[in-house]
C-alpha cells in the first residue's frame, strides 16, 4: 500500500489499542448494504501507472491550435510551476487557521489587489470556478441587490452557448429571465439594447473582447443605459485584456467577471480561474472567499479570511453562494505570473494579442477566397473569417496540415474562427500557407 505506512507490528499494536483484531470489525455497516463485490481495478506500480495514463493521453495527436473560444493559451514562465508546486502551497487547506497560513493568505490578498487594479473596482474575491460561473454569480448578486419590477437579465446575442447554458442553470432556481439583446456589425447594438431595457431589467452584460474577438467600442453607452434603468452593468473580460483596456469601473461597470486563468494557466482542457470584482457597496453580497488585512496580537499586519458570515458554512441556505472550494491555487499561479511580467510585461503581452491577430488577418485577407476579419473594429486574440468554400472544408484542410482551427455559427453563416497569441504567433506562417490556394474560385 503505497501511502499507508504502518508496519505489521504497529498495525497490530493499534488494533490492540482499539480492541479489535481486524479493522473490518470497526465498520458499523448493516450486512444488507455491505459491498461484497470487486471494483475490478488492478493495482499498478508508480512507473506502470504513469506509463498507463500517459499512454492514454498520447492518443491525442500533437496539433498546432488556433482555437480560443473562451480558453486561451499564453506562455507560462517556469517560475510559476516551480513556486506554485512547493508543497507548502500545493498541499495546504483553506486558510481556516490563518496563523499558520499567512503565506497563502498574503498571495491571495495580492491576487485580489491585482484584480482591483485591473478592473478599477473596489472589491475582488479570491476566485470562482470560471468565467461562466462568475457571470452566474453576478446575476444572482444583481437579483439580491436590485429590487426591480421583474427579474430580467440582458445578455448579448453573441454570448457563447456554453456560457449561456451555465447561466441558465444559475438563473433557474430564482426564476430569473435571461433575454438576448441584438448586436450589429459585430458589436453591441446600443439602440437595440435601449429598446429592450426597462424597469424589469436587473442586469445588463457585455463582454470586451466579445465572443467575435472584437473590442467593444462604446461600453460607456451601455453603462449609461443600465444606470438610467437602475440595472447593474456587468462587464466580461480577462486579466490580460484588462491590462491594456480602460478599467471597466471608469465607464460605469458595477461588476466585472471573466477569466484570470489567462495568467498562470496554459491550455488544460478548459480549466478556468473565474474573476469576480464589484463595487464596494455590494461587499456584503459578494460570493465566495475574501481575504482581508488585519492585525494580530503582536500588533503586526496579518491576513485572514474575512466577512465569512456571507458564506455557506455559517449562513447556510441564506449564504450569498454555495461556493466553498474555489480555484485558490490557480489564483496563486496567476499572481506569480503577473509579478514575473510586471506592468510593462503585462501590457506588452496584451498588445501582442492586438497586433498578432491583426497581422494574421491582414495576411489571410490578402489571399483569394477569404475575408478577414468579418467585422470591422479592433480585435483581441480572435477574429472571424469568411470563406468562399465551406468553412468546415477549410478547417479540414488545415487539419491535414496539423493545424486545429474551429468553425462557428455566426449570424446565420458558418465561419472560421482563428485565435492568435504569443504561443502560436510563429505558426501563423503555416496557417497562411495552408489557407493559400484553398480559397476556391480562381
Amino acid at each position: 500500500m503505497p501511502y499507508v505506512t504502518h508496519s505489521e507490528a504497529e498495525r497490530s499494536e493499534m488494533l490492540d489499542t482499539v480492541g479489535v483484531s481486524d479493522p473490518d470489525a470497526l465498520f458499523d455497516i448493516p450486512d444488507s448494504v455491505r459491498f461484497d463485490g470487486d471494483y475490478g481495478i488492478e493495482a499498478h506500480s508508480e512507473r506502470e501507472t504513469r506509463a498507463a495514463v500517459e499512454g492514454m493521453l498520447d492518443e491525442s495527436p500533437d496539433l498546432t491550435e488556433f482555437l480560443g473560444g473562451g480558453h486561451y493559451d499564453h506562455y507560462v514562465p517556469s517560475v510559476v510551476d516551480h513556486l506554485s508546486l512547493r508543497g507548502e502551497f500545493l498541499t495546504s487547506y483553506t486558510q481556516y487557521q490563518p496563523e499558520i497560513t499567512q503565506g497563502f493568505l498574503q498571495a491571495l490578498f495580492e491576487f485580489q489587489s491585482l484584480v482591483v487594479e485591473l478592473t478599477g473596482l473596489g472589491v475582488a474575491n479570491c476566485s470562482v470556478y470560471d468565467r461562466a460561473t462568475a457571470l452566474g454569480e453576478a446575476v444572482l448578486l444583481a437579483d439580491r441587490v436590485r429590487a426591480t419590477d421583474g427579474d430580467t437579465v440582458l445578455v448579448p446575442a453573441d454570448l457563447p452557448d456554453r456560457v449561456r447554458s451555465v447561466l441558465d442553470n444559475y438563473t433557474d432556481g430564482p426564476e430569473i429571465t435571461v433575454e438576448t439583446y441584438p448586436t450589429s456589425g459585430g458589436t453591441v447594438d446600443v439602440d437595440g439594447l435601449a429598446d429592450q431595457i426597462g424597469a424589469d431589467t436587473s442586469l445588463v452584460y457585455a463582454a470586451t473582447p466579445n465572443a467575435r474577438g472584437v473590442l467593444e467600442p462604446d461600453l460607456a453607452a451601455v453603462g449609461d443605459l443600465a444606470d438610467d434603468n437602475d440595472a447593474l452593468f456587468c462587464v466580461g473580460s480577462d486579466a490580460v485584456a484588462l491590462a491594456l483596456l480602460e478599467p471597466p469601473a471608469a465607464y460605469g461597470a458595477d461588476v466585472v467577471v471573466g477569466d484570470a486563468g489567462v495568467l498562470g494557466l496554459p491550455t488544460t482542457y478548459g480549466m478556468g480561474l473565474g474573476l469576480f470584482a464589484c463595487r464596494e457597496e455590494f461587499l456584503r453580497q459578494v460570493p465566495g472567499r475574501l481575504v482581508g488585512a488585519g492585525e494580530d496580537d503582536a500588533g503586526n499586519r496579518a491576513y485572514t479570511l474575512t466577512l465569512q458570515t456571507r458564506e455557506q458554512h455559517i449562513r447556510r441556505e441564506r449564504a450569498t453562494s454555495n461556493i466553498c472550494t474555489n480555484q485558490a491555487w490557480l489564483a496563486l499561479r496567476a499572481a506569480i505570473h503577473a509579478a514575473w511580467l510586471g506592468p510593462d510585461g503585462l501590457v506588452d503581452l496584451a498588445e501582442e494579442c492586438v497586433t498578432g491577430v491583426a497581422a494574421a488577418c491582414e495576411r489571410i485577407d490578402a489571399l483569394d477566397g477569404f475575408t478577414a476579419p468579418v467585422y470591422d473594429g479592433h480585435h483581441f486574440r480572435e477574429a472571424l473569417i469568411d470563406t468562399a468554400v465551406p468553412a468546415a472544408d477549410v478547417a479540414d484542410h488545415c487539419r491535414h496540415a496539423g493545424l486545429a482551427v474551429r468553425t462557428v455559427e455566426d449570424a446565420g453563416e458558418e465561419r472560421l474562427a482563428v485565435c492568435v497569441t504569443d504561443t502560436n504567433l510563429e505558426d501563423v506562417d503555416a496557417l497562411v500557407d495552408a489557407l493559400a490556394g484553398y480559397g476556391g474560385g480562381a
Binding site: 493559451d73 516551480h82 482542457y269 472567499r289 506569480i336
Partner: protein
C-alpha cells in the same frame, strides 16, 4: 509599446519616508519571522500604456509590482515558508480528508498530452475522451451508480448539479411542484446553500439522541412536497446511518429522491456503495477521497453519479465508447452545462492516476486504515468522544472553548481539527486523521491534544505564540474590511 514613466516607488520611499527607513532594510519588516512585505511594498512601477489601439479604448497607465525574477522567487519562497500544508505535517480537519498527495500525480498532470484545447474535434482529443470515459466508468463502479458526469468543478458545484438533475427529473415526471429539500441539521453548509440556490425550500431534519437521522421526524417531514433528501453517510459525527434502507424507503415512497454527499466516502471504499444503500444521486470530492492536492482552497472537482432513471438529465457532454473510439454526446434531457468546459481537467487526471495506482486492494486498505487511525487516535486522547461507533472521523468535546484549543494546538506544531461543528457536540473538535498518518504522527497528534487539555485556560486564550502570526482580531478585520493593497494606502 509601454513605457516606464515614474521612478520606482521604493526609490522615492528611500528619500522621503518619514521614519527614515531605507528600502531593503530587512529589519524593518523582519520581526521575528512574522511579516513579509507585500509585493507592491517591495517594488512598484507605473507604466504609461501606449498601444496600437485608439486612446479611448485603453487605460492611461497601469500600476503593479515589478520585481525581478530572483525577487519573485524569493517572495513566493518566503510566503511558502509561512504556510502549512500536508507536506509539512498532519491536517486532521474533520470532513476535509486531508491526506498525503502522491508526488507522481503532478508529473502525470505535467505530461504534454494534457495540453489539449477543449474545442478540438472528438477525433483530435481521443486521449482526453478515453480518460474521461474510463474515469466515468470507474467512479460509477465505486459509487454503485449507473452513470457519472465529471463536469462539476467542486463538491458544492456537484451538489448544485445533482439538485438540478433531480429537479429536471421531477419536472419530466409532472412533479415539478415538489419544492422541498430535506437536510439533516448536522449536514455540511453547502447542502443548505446548494438547495437554496436551486430554488428549493430547505427543511431541517433533527438528529435523534444517538446522533443519527431521527427516522420518525423524517417520516413526518417526507411527503408530496419532498424533492430530495441530502445525506452524508457516515454522517458528520462519523456514524453510519444504520437505518439507511428504511430512510431510503420513506423518501422513495414519498416520491422523493436520495442524494449522497460524498464528503465522507473515504470511509467506505471496498466496504459499501451509496448506490446499494438506495441513493439515486451522489457527488465525489476528488480532492478528498482521491487525494488531489487541495491547493489552499482549490481547484477541486465534484463529479456526480446517478441511477439509470436520472442519466438522461446529466450535464452535456457525456463520453461514450463506440467501436473502440470515444465520442461526446448530449444526454436526451440534459440540464445543460454547469461549467463552460469540463471543470478542472488536471484534477480528473490526478484522481484517475491515484485510483489506478491503488487498485481494489489498495482502495479498501485506504478506508480500513482511515477508520483504524481515527479509532486509534480517539483512544489516545483525553477529551470525551460522545458518539460512536465512528468511522474515519470522530467528534470530541473540549472542556474549554474549542477555538482556543485549536489555537493552542498550533503551538505544538500540528494543524488542529475542525472546531465548533457539528453543533450537536459541545465545543466540538471534529477530527479526521486520514490513512496516511503513521502511528508516530498519530501519537504526536494525541500528545498535542493532551498537552492542550492539561493547559491552563488563560494560557489557551493567549495562544498561539509559536506561529508566523499571533492570534488575529477577526472581528476588527471584518468591521474594517481592507481587501487590497489599495485599501491599505487609504489608511
Amino acid at each position: 509599446m509601454s513605457q516606464k514613466r515614474h521612478e520606482r516607488r521604493t526609490e522615492e520611499a528611500a528619500d522621503g519616508d518619514e521614519e527614515g527607513d531605507a528600502p531593503h532594510q530587512q529589519a524593518r519588516w523582519y520581526d521575528g519571522d512574522r511579516y513579509e512585505p507585500l509585493l507592491n511594498e517591495k517594488s512598484t512601477d507605473t507604466v504609461a500604456v501606449e498601444s496600437s489601439l485608439p486612446d479611448d479604448l485603453t487605460r492611461e497607465e497601469l500600476t503593479l509590482p515589478d520585481p525581478s525574477e530572483p525577487e519573485v522567487t524569493r517572495h513566493y519562497t518566503r510566503l511558502s515558508q509561512m504556510n502549512y500544508g500536508i507536506d509539512s505535517g498532519p491536517i486532521p480537519l474533520g470532513s476535509c480528508t486531508m491526506k498525503y498527495n502522491p508526488a507522481f500525480t503532478e508529473d502525470v498532470a505535467a505530461h504534454p498530452g494534457n495540453r489539449v484545447h477543449p474545442l478540438r474535434t472528438d477525433d483530435d482529443k481521443q486521449g482526453i475522451l478515453g480518460l474521461l470515459y474510463e474515469l466515468q466508468e470507474t467512479l460509477a463502479t465505486v459509487g454503485g451508480m449507473d452513470a457519472v458526469t465529471l463536469q462539476p468543478p467542486a463538491g458544492a458545484a456537484g451538489e448544485f448539479t445533482g439538485i438540478q438533475v433531480a429537479k429536471a427529473y421531477h419536472e419530466a415526471n409532472g412533479e415539478g411542484e415538489r419544492n422541498e429539500v430535506i437536510v439533516p441539521e448536522s449536514a455540511h453548509g453547502t447542502n443548505f446553500a446548494s438547495a437554496a440556490m436551486a430554488g428549493y425550500d430547505v427543511v431541517e431534519l433533527p438528529s435523534n439522541e444517538d446522533g443519527r437521522v431521527a427516522v420518525d421526524a423524517l417520516e413526518a417531514a417526507a411527503g408530496e412536497d419532498t424533492a430530495l433528501l441530502m445525506l452524508t453517510n457516515p454522517n458528520t459525527l462519523g456514524l453510519f446511518e444504520r437505518d439507511i434502507t428504511e430512510i431510503a424507503d420513506i423518501v422513495h415512497e414519498a416520491g422523493g429522491l436520495l442524494y449522497y454527499d460524498g464528503a465522507n466516502l473515504n470511509s467506505l471504499l471496498g466496504k459499501a456503495r451509496p448506490g446499494d444503500m438506495g441513493f439515486d444521486i451522489m457527488h465525489f470530492n476528488l480532492h478528498k477521497t482521491f487525494a488531489t492536492p487541495h491547493g489552499g482552497g482549490g481547484p477541486g472537482q465534484g463529479p456526480i453519479g446517478v441511477s439509470a432513471d436520472l442519466a438522461p438529465f446529466l450535464p452535456t457532454p457525456q463520453v461514450r465508447e463506440v467501436d473502440g473510439d470515444y465520442e461526446t454526446y448530449d444526454p436526451d434531457h440534459s440540464i445543460g452545462r454547469v461549467h463552460e468546459f469540463m471543470g478542472n481537467w488536471l484534477v480528473l487526471v490526478k484522481a484517475y492516476a491515484y485510483i489506478l495506482r491503488h487498485g481494489d486492494v489498495g482502495l479498501e486498505r485506504i478506508s480500513e486504515t482511515a477508520v483504524l487511525n481515527a479509532n486509534y487516535l480517539a483512544e489516545r486522547i483525553e477529551y470525551e468522544v460522545p458518539y460512536g461507533p465512528f468511522h474515519h472521523e470522530f467528534v470530541a468535546s473540549a472542556d474549554e472553548d474549542a477555538a482556543d484549543v485549536a489555537k493552542a494546538m498550533l503551538d505544538h506544531g500540528v494543524h488542529p481539527p475542525t472546531t465548533k461543528w457539528p453543533e450537536i457536540v459541545d465545543e466540538a473538535l471534529m477530527t479526521e486523521p486520514t490513512e496516511t498518518e503513521s502511528k508516530a504522527r498519530l501519537d504526536d497528534l494525541a500528545a498535542a491534544f493532551n498537552a492542550v487539555a492539561a493547559t491552563d485556560p488563560e494560557d489557551l486564550a493567549a495562544a498561539p505564540n509559536e506561529t508566523t502570526a499571533r492570534r488575529i482580531d477577526q472581528a476588527d478585520a471584518a468591521r474594517n474590511p481592507r481587501l487590497s493593497w489599495h485599501a491599505l494606502d487609504d489608511t
